[in-house]
């Protein structure tokens, strides 16, 4: 007699039940859907919007299921062609300010959703979409910070009556100050030491010169602030794009990953994400403004001669609280701007004393270009560098002191005004970004990839099951059940962790199928050996399981080590593969050892004087 504790059977049953329930949602194919929400985040979708959509679609004879969710209206359809058609029809017929996005709506039954069972997420390679990897140019953030500090210093020096002969930012990172007396130099040095803590000491550098370079910790702080702000800004912008289930994540030290499932128009997405456009407000330079304090800028629309603006910035786009695109009395595009409190008072102070003079609005945009540099081996290598374009969009006479709200005109087109409004609303990027990687997968390729993945998994499983059934008979049944059980568990765990399934992930599952059999092969070979050594069947089974266990353990732990290293070092396809591989190894240990043991015991365990087993 061979006993196997009741609790072990119970455990296996519970795990099996749990696996089946939580992997179940994956059997329900999602509906292609269109998701509509109001642009303004304060307004949530309502019955009115749902009815409007229903009427538009009824006019066009399109069949769709319209559901009102908390934040949006979901329009479910049955084919991908209809999905695109509905999106086009809605975007040209809906009058309100709405964001329309493609989505894949799950069809999981309510009772499953209620217990938290949801399908696995599909990676971009399986559902289509765009993946961007952006590198944050933190050097620009550092330069901007030093520019700001220099401007601040000029004002403070004037207040403190410290006379200097030269003040500029050199090498994009340190401030160079030149004085014409030792006394002034010392006074400035003391003043800076008392009021600024971010610089490397000593400040003194040669005769009557102070160099203010940022300390290591300060640079790190600026860099991480820049990346955090860029992340926030990107999330805001992605929300404005109306993508369902977007991913915006930091990757490594200076990079940000953005994944937008369902998006096909990469040009628009890139335009919005990568734009560093923002505004700067400057006073027009006067005749007596020294040359070193003013710069000439061209007009953005190309009309009119370039004009000189003062270098000091009244305020920048980061102090814009809200911005809305609209039209002025003459039907020309404009942007209505509301500043935050601090911005409002800065604007008021600057314009109060300058009535009659002109206020310039600068459109500032960071762009990137590729230049070729000769590397050490004399080969031309492409290097991306960013540069700044500053153009005047309006230069208007100040008639009265401005407050927190005003409007900007002089924009070329309604699309430009709405884009500028969006960028001002979503916030500026603290540092420009370059796209270092971009992957777009069309929906048809995604569907083909799923089909190929599923098909190869079915065939692989079929072949392996066929072989072990033929080779191991009754024990083969145990191993086959365990293998199937393993896939169910693997899928259930992936679903619970809401891990993303990718094509390499499917390959990982398929590979797990092939390798998970190994544990059973080890056990069964051992049992055969023990039988050959003359043990009676029950003893042989017992010895087989016990002796093979440590081997299985060692073999799996080492493979798991590889999988975990892949998981931590890999990106993209490598990661997807590593996830399924690691989960598969863990679940296979359970199913191949405990699962088959329970089955074998159920069949043979109660028999006394067992003479033959079918292995």
């Amino acid at each position: 007699m061979m006993r196997y504790g009741l609790w072990k059977y119970l455990l296996i049953l519970i795990v099996l039940g749990f696996g089946i329930v939580y992997s179940l949602p994956n059997l329900y194919a999602p509906d292609p859907a269109v998701q509509v929400s109001y642009t303004s985040s304060s307004q949530s979708a309502d019955q009115f919007l749902a009815d409007e959509i229903r009427n538009i679609l009824k006019d066009k004879n399109l069949n769709a299921l319209i559901e009102l969710e908390a934040d949006y209206v979901l329009v479910r359809t049955n084919t991908y062609q209809n999905q695109l058609k509905i999106k086009d029809i809605l975007s040209s017929n809906l009058v309100n300010d709405v964001v329309i996005a493609l989505n894949l709506a799950p069809t999981t039954p309510n009772w499953l959703e209620d217990i938290g069972a949801n399908p696995m997420k599909l990676g971009l390679d399986l559902r289509g979409g765009v993946h961007f990897l952006m590198q944050v140019d933190t050097e620009t953030a550092i330069k901007n910070r030093q520019d700001g500090t220099l401007q601040d210093l000029r004002i403070r020096f004037r207040e403190e009556k410290i006379r200097y002969t030269q003040a500029l930012v050199e090498d994009d990172s340190s401030i160079y100050l030149k004085f014409n007396s030792d006394e002034a130099t010392e006074k400035a040095e003391d003043f800076i030491k008392d009021n600024y803590s971010q610089f490397n000491l000593p400040l003194m550098n040669g005769d009557q010169v102070l160099i203010l370079s940022l300390s290591e910790t300060e640079i790190e702080q600026i860099e991480s602030d820049a990346i955090d702000q860029n992340l926030t800004t990107l999330r805001n912008r992605v929300n404005e794009l109306g993508v369902s289930e977007p991913i915006v994540q930091r990757q490594g030290k200076k990079r940000i990953v953005v994944q937008l499932p369902g998006i096909q128009d990469t040009a628009e997405a890139k335009n919005i994400l990568g734009k560093t456009a923002t505004l700067e407000f400057h006073l027009e330079a006067q005749m007596d403004t020294p040359r070193s304090r003013k710069t000439s800028y061209p007009y953005r629309n190309g009309l009119g001669a370039p004009a000189f603006l003062q270098d000091s910035v009244i305020l920048g786009g980061d102090q814009v609280a809200t911005a809305q695109a609209s039209f002025d009395e003459n039907g020309l595009p404009q942007v209505n701007i509301t500043l935050d409190g601090e911005g409002g008072s800065k604007m008021h102070r600057a314009t109060r004393g300058n009535i009659g003079k002109r206020l310039g609005v600068l459109f500032v945009e960071q762009k990137t270009r590729t230049v070729y540099q000769r590397d050490l081996e004399g080969q031309q290598t492409p290097v991306q560098e960013s540069y700044e374009v500053k153009e005047i969009i309006s230069l208007a006479t100040i008639r009265a002191a401005l407050g927190t709200t005003f409007r900007i005109t002089g924009l070329d087109s309604p699309s430009e005004s709405s884009e500028l409004a969006l960028l001002l609303r979503a916030g500026a990027l603290a540092a420009p970004m370059t796209f270092v990687e971009e992957r777009t997968v069309g929906p048809s390729l995604g569907a083909d990839n799923i089909q190929a993945g599923v098909f190869s998994m079915q065939l692989g499983l079929f072949l392996v099951l066929g072989f072990i059934l033929f080779y191991y008979r009754i024990f083969g049944i145990a191993a086959s059940l365990a293998l199937t059980f393993n896939i169910v568990l693997l899928v259930a765990i992936m679903s619970i962790l809401s891990a993303t399934l990718t094509l390499p992930g499917i390959a990982g599952i398929v590979l797990t199928v092939g390798m998970a059999v190994d544990a059973n092969v080890l056990i069964f070979s051992r049992i055969r050996e023990e039988l050959k050594n003359g043990r009676d069947p029950l003893d042989a089974i017992d010895a087989g399981y016990n002796r093979a266990f440590l081997t299985i353990w060692d073999a799996n732990v080492t493979t798991l080590i590889v999988a975990v290293i892949l998981l931590s070092y890999g990106t993209g396809p490598v990661k997807g593969f590593a996830i399924t591989l690691s989960i598969g190894i863990v679940t296979s240990m359970f199913t191949a050892i405990m699962g088959t043991r329970a089955f074998v015991n159920l069949i043979y365990g109660s028999k006394k004087n067992l003479e033959r087993i079918s292995i």
């Binding site: 270092v436 190869s456 080590i561």
Partner: protein
């Protein structure tokens, strides 16, 4: 399955065979190098699907007219599918420009954009470095674990076998110039896992027999162990190869090279756990004394099922 093969009699031949293969692989890696895919070289890749068989030379001509000189155009999987590659390319919007150019040249045909990939110049070399680092770390951890669970000679033998496998698989990729991309790198790491799995099973049996068998001849013990585990080794390799072939033939173009790397890896890994790892143990002079100090195996009873 019972075997009684004198594996170690083939030892010298196997050694010559492996050395030859290693030399050819390394020479090929130096002379022909690897055919790195987009992930590692950087550049732009566009995959398009035409409703009917696409005319490659026409597409090439259109691209050259549109001043995309360096474009390589080739079929991908089928005659309707087209893969356009622009190596070392300069702009991240190139992909969409190509699509609009080709669509305007083919007004009567609906071109389906399957995918666009752009990888910047700095990413490629980083991915290569990361891949190399990951592989070295994996090897180091393997060595540590085996040294801890078995004994340092086993660790040495296993790592020699792993390096042997990786060099030969990469060598094959270099020899027949199959594209080496990120998924192939992942496959290579999986090969490490698989080959190690095999080596551990064999080593485990050698350790057990060193303790239990009466014979004093290490070679005889190793030979017996190899024969005892051969059945299992072959069956597991067979089931793994079954799924890999189904991935290779049905998994789609993107998975093909991944499956291929693993197919080579499984074959080489199976061979190496028999001939390289076991051989290395013999050559390092493993004998019963090396295991005497270790604690008895049943200290791990708590782990039993």
């Amino acid at each position: 399955m019972t075997f009684n093969i004198d594996f170690l009699a083939w030892r010298k031949i196997a050694l010559i065979f492996s050395s030859l293969f290693l030399v050819v692989s390394i020479a090929s890696l130096f002379l022909k190098e690897l055919n790195y895919g987009l992930d590692f070289t950087g550049g732009t890749l566009v995959e398009l699907s035409y409703p009917e068989a696409a005319n490659i030379s026409e597409i090439r001509a259109t691209l050259i007219q549109g001043s995309f000189e360096g474009a390589q155009v080739a079929n991908f999987g089928s005659s309707k599918e087209i893969l356009i590659k622009l190596p070392g390319t300069v702009s991240d919007s190139l992909g969409s420009e190509i699509v609009s150019l080709l669509s305007s040249a083919n007004l009567n045909q609906e071109i389906d954009l399957r995918r666009i990939e752009y990888v910047g110049p700095q990413i490629g070399s980083e991915l290569r470095d990361d891949g190399g680092t990951a592989m070295l770390i994996a090897l180091a951890f393997m060595m540590l674990y085996i040294a801890f669970r078995f004994q340092s000679m086993f660790a040495g033998a296993a790592v020699i076998a792993l390096i042997h496998d990786v060099i030969i698989v990469v060598g094959i990729f270099s020899l027949i110039q199959i594209e080496f991309d990120l998924t192939v790198l992942a496959a290579l790491l999986a090969v490490i896992g698989y080959s190690l799995n095999d080596t551990i099973v064999v080593s485990d049996r050698i350790r057990e027999n060193l303790r239990s068998m009466d014979s004093d001849s290490t070679e005889e013990i190793i030979n017996t162990s190899l024969n005892q585990t051969l059945g299992r080794t072959l069956i597991t390799s067979l089931t793994t190869l079954l799924v890999l072939f189904s991935l290779y033939f049905l998994g789609g173009e993107l998975i093909k090279n991944f499956a291929l790397a693993l197919i080579f890896g499984v074959i080489v890994g199976t061979y190496s756990s028999i001939y390289i790892a076991a051989n290395a143990l013999v050559m390092m002079g493993l004998n019963k004394d090396h295991l005497r100090v270790e604690e008895p195996e049943n200290s791990d009873d708590s782990l039993l099922p």
